[in-house]
C-alpha cells in the first residue's frame, strides 16, 4: 500500500539556522511528490512539487527539496529559517497514472522556531 512517513513529529530550530524535514514514501513506482505547509487556522499551501527530471526542486518561501530514488526520500530544506516559518509541514504523494485522484499525506512535522 502507498504510504508516506515523516519520522519527526516536532522539530525546533533557531531562527537563522538551517532546516531539514524528512520524508520517506512507499510506492510501487516513483510517485508525484509534494510538500505542503499549514499555518494555524489556514488551509494547506503547496510549497513545491516533484514530477520528474532534476531531483532538486525549488519552491516558494525559499524552500527546496531533493528527491533520492535510492532512499525513497523527498526531504525539505531551507538554508535560513525565519520565525514566520513556524507551522505544520506535510509531505504527500500522488499517483502519476491517476494524478489528481487523491493525495496521500504523511502525519506531518510541526516546526517551532526559537529566537
Amino acid at each position: 500500500a502507498q504510504s508516506v512517513t515523516q519520522p519527526d513529529i516536532h522539530i525546533t530550530v533557531s531562527e537563522g539556522a538551517s532546516l531539514e524535514l524528512r520524508c520517506n514514501y512507499s510506492y510501487g513506482a516513483t510517485p508525484y511528490l509534494f510538500w505542503y505547509v499549514q499555518s494555524p487556522g489556514q488551509g494547506l499551501q503547496l510549497l513545491l512539487k516533484y514530477f520528474s527530471g532534476d531531483t532538486l526542486v525549488q519552491g516558494i518561501k525559499g524552500f527546496e527539496a531533493e528527491f533520492k530514488r535510492s532512499q525513497s526520500s523527498f526531504n525539505l530544506r531551507k538554508p535560513s529559517v525565519h520565525w514566520s516559518d513556524a507551522a505544520e509541514y506535510f509531505c504527500a504523494v500522488d499517483s502519476p497514472n491517476q494524478a489528481g485522484t487523491a493525495l496521500i499525506f504523511g502525519k506531518g512535522t510541526t516546526l517551532s522556531v526559537s529566537s
Binding site: 505542503y36 488551509g43 494547506l44 494524478a99 489528481g100 485522484t101 499525506f105 506531518g108
Partner: protein
C-alpha cells in the same frame, strides 16, 4: 481570485446531533475533494467529485456521512448523527479537471474544525 471558501470555520455540537459543512470551490474547478484531518494526522480523502459525480467515495462512512454537489459547483458534507470520533478538521479542496498527462494542483480551503461533545 477568491480561493476555496468553507463555512462554518468552527462548529461545536453534542453527539448524536446532525451537522453540515459547506464548500465553494475556485471558479472553474470541476474537481472537488473533501478530506478529514484528525488531530496529529495528515488529511485523508473522504470523497472526490468530478462535476456532479462522486467518482471516489470509498472512504466515506456511508452509514452517517453524506455529501452532495448538485450543480457541480458548491458542495455540502453532512454527518448524521455525529459521534465523538468525528471531531476533526474537514478540508475542502478543488482543482481543474483531471486530464491525461496534466497535473492540476489541488487548492485547499481553511477547513471547518468540528468538535463533538
Amino acid at each position: 481570485e477568491a480561493g476555496v471558501v468553507q463555512s462554518p470555520r468552527y462548529k461545536i455540537i453534542e453527539k448524536k446531533q446532525p451537522v453540515a459543512f459547506w464548500c465553494n470551490p475556485i471558479s472553474g474547478h470541476n474537481t472537488l475533494y473533501w478530506y478529514r484531518q484528525n488531530l496529529g494526522q495528515g488529511p485523508e480523502l473522504l470523497i472526490r467529485y468530478e462535476n456532479e459525480e462522486a467518482v471516489d467515495d470509498s472512504q466515506l462512512p456511508k452509514d452517517r456521512f453524506s455529501a452532495e454537489r448538485l450543480k457541480g459547483v458548491d458542495s455540502t458534507l453532512k454527518i448524521q448523527p455525529a459521534e465523538l470520533g468525528d471531531s476533526a478538521v474537514y478540508l475542502c479542496a478543488s482543482s481543474l479537471v483531471r486530464l491525461a498527462g496534466i497535473y492540476n494542483e489541488q487548492f485547499f480551503g481553511p477547513g471547518t474544525r468540528l468538535t463533538v461533545l
